[in-house]
């Protein structure tokens, strides 16, 4: 059975990496036969190393800030104040809906050299120079952290929920605040936070939109240069190698630094009190990450909603359809991965985690080109479903498989087998065990994974633009096209509509299910 589980992990990773592997094979097999020529000189010259260093700095800064934003939001989301927690968790996911470029432009509008806030501060305090400069690596890290922190907050919330309330009470009795923070919360939350920060690191490391909007040169531009300026796919793949190696190094170090591969789960649910400082911090984060960009968007939209729906209503529906399909694919892959991980030993789980993070290192454009390569090579099922929306959904799923896989695997491996065994002993069939026990126990993780998967699929651009079928266009492609012509009001209106639509869907989900983050079974068992 262990072999089967290992095979399944490999299958999920291979299915996600198939386009990248196709491109890698192409880059190694040139007209002159197999060769490493594309990976030769120039990959590590001083200029490229400088760009790589700046990318690492931006991504590290973004991860650190995302931890600052994500922990209080996760705490409030997991607190026993159900209405507040659900609202905070729902709202905290919405920044993922806004294209990062739009968020960046919103911040420029507020905090740029001629931004509203900057001008006010300069006149109020008679400043000669702007008080802050957004057009720096620090500015890029700041905005990227506000775009990507939900990866931390959702995992932090899962972490807070996994902690046994009895041990929280015991810690309160036995230790002071700083001792509790260092000796109790830190070790218990560390595995969740490290994984959240890793996701933010990888997403920020690969991002091109925000740094380019702030005129900060980062390494991903090298990949785009090879593809767009030189039209050299082989070289582009080779250029991906140094950042992939660096990112992999960070992943290995970070995963190695966490002692346990998965944290032990206590009772699902807890009685964390929503502390005023945490609520205030969460509200501040929501204001910065969602409130301010939305304010700018509402200001900019100026009643262009009707025109937005006329111009891009079809793309909104197409994107929702494709995102739903991608979410289905991701949940299926994540579910298989989680089941397979559950039966592996700690070392195997860590290796599986490392493997499933690999697709995040592949630039979206390479995924798109790889899919086209598989189509032209007639590889099943890619050739069979081309041209179709399923291919677009697959492109997004192939990029973001790590997100549901990590969330579901964390929940699944911390689940005790006793309730499942008890149900089987009492004659419950597999389906009954799955729907009656397993799914309710995993529901918070499933809901979180589904929501994040949906949001990432909805916003996917670089692979979609390469594989969308003729006559079909996703919303991000349309938004980017509108952005190019400076149709700011239309873009803003579409973003507002999208946020409203998804917030409504999420809130409806809360009402129907009693809260995606609330466990349906109050008592699970501590894992061995």
């Amino acid at each position: 059975v262990k072999q089967v589980r290992r095979l399944l992990v490999l299958l999920v990773v291979a299915a996600s990496l198939a386009p990248a592997l196709a491109m890698l094979v192409d880059s190694l097999r040139g007209p002159e036969g197999w060769s490493l020529r594309a990976f030769g000189d120039g990959l590590t010259d001083a200029r490229r190393l400088g760009l790589l260093g700046r990318s690492v700095l931006v991504a590290l800064g973004s991860s650190a800030l995302a931890l600052v934003w994500g922990i209080p939001v996760g705490y409030v989301a997991a607190s026993r104040s159900r209405a507040l927690g659900s609202c905070v968790e729902t709202l905290s996911l919405l920044p993922l809906l806004l294209p990062s470029l739009v968020t960046a432009l919103g911040f420029v509008h507020l905090f740029g050299r001629a931004g509203v806030v900057t001008v006010w501060l300069r006149s109020a305090f008679d400043l000669q120079a702007p008080p802050f400069d957004l057009y720096t690596p620090a500015g890029a890290a700041w905005i990227l952290s506000l775009c990507n922190y939900p990866c931390v907050s959702i995992l932090a919330a899962q972490g807070f929920r996994s902690i046994d309330p009895a041990s929280v009470r015991a810690a309160r009795l036995a230790a002071g605040p700083w001792q509790r923070l260092w000796g109790f919360w830190r070790p218990l939350l560390m595995p969740w936070l490290v994984r959240g920060a890793l996701l933010v690191f990888l997403l920020s490391f690969a991002d091109f939109g925000v740094p380019s909007a702030l005129m900060v040169n980062v390494y991903p531009i090298e990949v785009f240069t090879e593809l767009s300026a030189y039209l050299d796919v082989r070289r582009a793949i080779a250029v991906c190698a140094p950042p992939a190696a660096v990112a992999l190094l960070f992943v290995v170090v970070a995963l190695g630094a966490t002692r346990a591969p998965w944290p032990l789960a206590g009772r699902t649910g807890n009685d964390l009190r929503s502390k005023p400082w945490a609520v205030a911090a969460a509200l501040l984060v929501l204001t910065l990450s969602l409130g301010l960009p939305l304010l700018v968007l509402l200001w900019t939209a100026q009643g262009a909603y009707g025109e937005a729906l006329r111009t891009a209503g079809e793309q909104v529906l197409t994107s929702l359809r494709i995102a739903l399909l991608g979410t289905g694919m991701l949940l299926a892959a994540g579910g298989v991965f989680a089941w397979a991980c559950r039966g592996l030993l700690a070392r195997g789980q860590r290796a599986a985690e490392l493997a499933v993070l690999l697709p995040l290192l592949v630039p979206g454009a390479v995924v798109g080109l790889g899919i086209l390569r598989l189509v032209t090579a007639g590889v099943w099922p890619f050739a069979a479903i081309h041209p179709g929306e399923a291919l677009v959904a697959y492109g997004a799923a192939a990029r973001f498989v790590a997100i549901p896989a990590l969330l579901l695997a964390a929940a699944a491996t911390s689940l005790h087998a006793a309730p499942l065994d008890a149900a089987r002993v009492h004659g419950a069939g597999r389906w009954r065990v799955f729907t009656g026990i397993l799914l309710p126990l995993l529901w918070p993780a499933v809901a979180g994974a589904a929501t994040l998967s949906f949001l990432f699929c909805l916003g996917e651009l670089p692979a979609a633009v390469l594989v969308n079928p003729p006559g079909v266009m996703t919303l991000p492609v349309r938004l980017a096209s509108l952005l190019h012509f400076g149709k700011d009001a239309l873009v803003a209106a579409l973003c507002v509509i999208l946020c409203g639509l998804v917030a409504a869907v999420l809130l409806l989900g809360l009402l129907l299910t009693g809260g995606p983050i609330r466990p349906r079974l109050r008592h699970a068992y501590r894992a061995d």
């Binding site: 001629a114 179709g388 349309r478």
Partner: protein, 339 residues
């Protein structure tokens, strides 16, 4: 609710997957890749649908996000082409695709009155409706008497640290750079770009972003395209547009181009669409749109007094020479600006 969701979700996903799987393109349709802004290309393609009864299936591009886009898609799909026509918004990639053998030579009859310098002698591409590279400056930050009149003025100390250009590795900015390499000669072009960098020029992600930075007062001046400049002018931003080097090099004019893809699935419909796009009516329609594309043919009303090709001095370019200069200029600009 949970249980019924569990039961219906897989069924819905399967149904979605079935619906989402596409089939081969049907006859009576044409597949067009368009790099031109969708706001303006879509109405023209709808007109074609109405006039010819041929369904147009469109694939768009996104310049702002710097995706690798349609050219890479065409190259990657060369063994199994899905596009019939490529409506490109510039010339360089048309020349490059022609050189790669991806283009079927075809001279549309409707293009006979387009000046010869805007057509490929071998019939691989034909130009129509053009943009020009222009200087844009913020009138609140730059007095009119100190406004730049030449691209070389961007290197003057008065504008130090207050200028921007779109990333010269992509799009029309890259075409402009290669054209300068081809026209000025490699040495002079290098000196110009080094002086630009040393004068604190910032590299914006695209022409629209460069325009925004100037229009919003973040920076004083930029090089951009006429369609981007027109958007700022229409929005009433405090900017002014200048055609550069009117007593020297002239302004670079970059037309749209249309290409028939070799081995495309609907060659007949593709030819019809190429005929349509190269027609006088389409040029006139493009000129009336907000993107202010300037007609190449004489006799078609210009989009306005600021956008009359006959009233400006244009840069004389040989597109094949520009394509030859491209690799050297790109390598140099990458080393100079992307660090």
């Amino acid at each position: 609710v949970l249980r019924s969701s569990c039961a219906t979700a897989p069924a819905l996903i399967l149904l979605g997957a079935t619906l989402a799987c596409g089939g081969a393109p049907a006859a009576g349709e044409v597949v067009v890749y368009t790099a031109h802004d969708l706001l303006f290309s879509e109405p023209i393609l709808k007109d074609f649908e109405r006039q010819h009864g041929v369904r147009v299936r469109l694939v768009g591009d996104t310049e702002a996000a710097k995706t690798t886009g349609l050219v890479n898609r065409l190259i990657q799909m060369r063994d199994r082409p899905e596009a019939d026509v490529f409506w490109n918004n510039e010339v360089m990639n048309a020349v490059r695709l022609s050189r790669m053998g991806l283009v079927e030579p075809y001279v549309p009859a409707t293009a006979a009155d387009i000046p010869a310098r805007h057509r490929d002698p071998a019939g691989h591409w034909v130009g129509f409706g053009a943009r020009a590279r222009v200087l844009l400056y913020n009138t609140n930050l730059v007095p009119a008497d100190q406004a730049p009149r030449s691209i070389f003025d961007l290197c003057k100390p008065a504008l130090r640290g207050r200028i921007t250009v779109a990333n010269p590795l992509f799009g029309t900015a890259a075409t402009h750079a290669a054209a300068l390499f081809a026209t000025l000669g490699e040495e002079r072009a290098r000196q110009f770009f080094l002086a630009l960098r040393d004068n604190g020029c910032r590299v914006a992600a695209g022409n629209a972003l460069a325009r925004n930075l100037v229009a919003d007062g973040e920076l004083a001046a930029c090089l951009t395209d006429t369609d981007d400049a027109n958007e700022a002018l229409m929005a009433g931003k405090p900017v002014a547009m200048v055609y550069p080097d009117q007593d020297g090099l002239g302004a670079l004019v970059i037309p749209n181009t249309v290409l028939l893809i070799r081995g495309g699935p609907h060659p007949d419909q593709g030819r019809k669409l190429v005929d349509h796009l190269a027609s006088r009516e389409v040029e006139a329609r493009l000129a009336r749109m907000d993107s202010a594309q300037m007609p190449l043919r004489p006799g078609i009303p210009a989009p306005g007094r600021h956008f009359d090709l006959e009233a400006i001095k244009t840069m004389a370019v040989d597109w094949n020479a520009v394509a030859d200069a491209w690799p050297a200029s790109t390598r140099f600009l990458q080393e100079t600006f992307i660090r």
